[in-house]
């Protein structure tokens, strides 16, 4: 009876670390996107009035469509990275639109400042999430794990070449002689 020992070291699970956190943050941003989008679709006039952006209701509605679509895509895709990057681009559009509200002396300036700060905060979250997701997908740098001793053979591979010469290929897996011209003379 053999008394073999398992010789190769293995590792436990790396644990629920930052990778899981980035996925969960993405899902949170997805739900946020849907919520904000629905608000923009349902009450564009009220939003524009609050922020001093009267006349831009159609634009806000289109942003609502964008937010809902992006949110659904984040929640449904197995890799939310491109959609989170899309959110970053959307944040830039939102900030540019809000910046237009600062023109002139408006009563809604306080609301506008608050809205701009909120969008800037969400932008930071989007950027952190996108960077984290991209970092998670990066492969380990070469040399981090050393598998050079994992041949599985008792001797160097060169010495194992043809060690299973006693194996006879079953007839149904054999190549017809006519299709192996390189066998007899070692060249095609």
């Amino acid at each position: 009876m053999s008394t073999m020992r398992h010789p190769y070291p293995t590792r436990p699970a790396p644990g629920r670390g930052a990778q899981a956190g980035h996925q969960e943050l993405a899902r949170g941003l997805g739900w946020f996107s849907i919520g904000l989008g629905l608000l923009e679709l349902a009450a564009p006039r009220g939003l524009c009035r609050t922020l001093g952006l009267e006349g831009r209701e159609t634009l806000v509605r289109s942003y609502g469509v964008r937010e809902v679509a992006t949110g659904v895509a984040i929640l449904m895709s197995h890799d939310p990275t491109p959609w989170i990057l899309g959110r970053v681009a959307g944040d830039a559009l939102d900030l540019a639109t809000l910046a237009q509200g600062f023109d002139g002396d408006r009563e809604q300036r306080a609301n506008l400042v608050a809205a701009t700060a909120a969008v800037a905060g969400v932008t930071v979250l989007d950027v952190v999430c996108a960077q984290g997701l991209m970092a998670d997908k990066r492969l380990s740098p070469p040399g981090r794990y050393d598998y050079r001793d994992r041949s599985g053979f008792p001797r160097p591979p060169r010495a194992m070449r043809g060690a299973a010469a006693d194996f006879e290929t079953p007839p149904d897996f054999r190549v017809p002689d006519a299709l192996r011209p390189w066998r007899d003379d070692g060249a095609a």
């Binding site: 190769y8 981090r144 194992m160 194996f167």
Partner: protein, 404 residues
Amino acid sequence: MGRTFRSAAGSLKPMKALVWHGTTDIRCDTVFDPTIEDGRDAIIKVTSCAICGSDLHLYDHFMPGMKAGDIMGHETMGEVVEVGKDNTALKVGDRIVVPFTITCGQCPQCRRGNFSVCERTNRNKPLGDAAFGHTTAGLFGYTHLTGGYAGGQAEYLRVPFADSTHIKVPDGIPDEHLLFLSDIFPTGWQGAVQCDIQPEDTVAIWGCGAVGQMAIRSAILLGAKRVIAIDRVPERLEMARAGGAEVLDYDAEPNIVARLNDMTDGRGPEKCIDAVGLEAHALGAVDAVYDRAKQAMMLETDRAHVLRQMIMVCRPAGILSVPGVYGGLIDKFPIGALMNKGLTVRTGQTHVKRWTGDLLRRIEEGQIDPSFVITHTIGLEDGPEMYRTFRDKQDGCIKVVIRP
């Protein structure tokens, strides 16, 4: 009900298992213990099981036919704890490895050794007929197209047709040496055997995951003159090199077909093995981007980048061996090159039991130790997170063994 010898787990006692709930949603749930359903069955207490690369096709939901609540896993071994009344081949206490293909052992295909296309073990035969034209064998934990059988990433497993579907293994050899007789070792072996390797052959192998690693060792043992392995993950390439392969990093080689031709005096390798399957990656390749887009629009199910490269680079009259899993339809298949070059294509799920007697002997004699491929050992509760780590090729992960 058969002879009941199980004392540790009575009927309908809860156990832990890794359960599929949806795309990238696998959970460690509490489910009912399996019970004997047929006289040929057996129940095993799982001592070791593994996550397979083909499980990732289910995790990402590229394979159709999964239902919420399905138990994952098809690489399993353990100790028999209960045996059906008609099963005279096994007894309680036997140590067995469970082949991932369920085989009746009696149908014409099983009698020919074509176990992976057993005609009787897919209990959802109409689904199999509809998907593939004719049914194939039932598989553990691998969609309802192949029977919808509960898988082995669990504390207990019901083995249907267990009097035929088992590999008895001796005590005294660690699970890690034997577990891969269930799938990846015979799959890599059959991938190489299908090439009918000759001493002058150059064998190119796409994919250095666990099956690719086994195919590399198998091609070396079967006497290939050269083995060239293709991947992009540094650890996998390093492990391939350790097994005797020359390696190509497709991130660093802009044209794999041209490079392989250069390495073979312009003639191409005689034998090509696809150990990648339907989720082929190729950053920047035009056809790979095309496949991604079509797959996203549900206009094709499988990505054929590796198959296209193999067909184009293989030496005329050569052999393409495809152990990598495909599930449905591909596009832009270069049938003209395949036909005019007179290539032979050999495919199929693995006829596991056809090879395992011979491979077990090689393990016992120390000719090969398949445990070289294991990078992680975990408990069931870490399974869901490990699926993601494995899928994303993080933490140097090549093969995960689970100890329930």
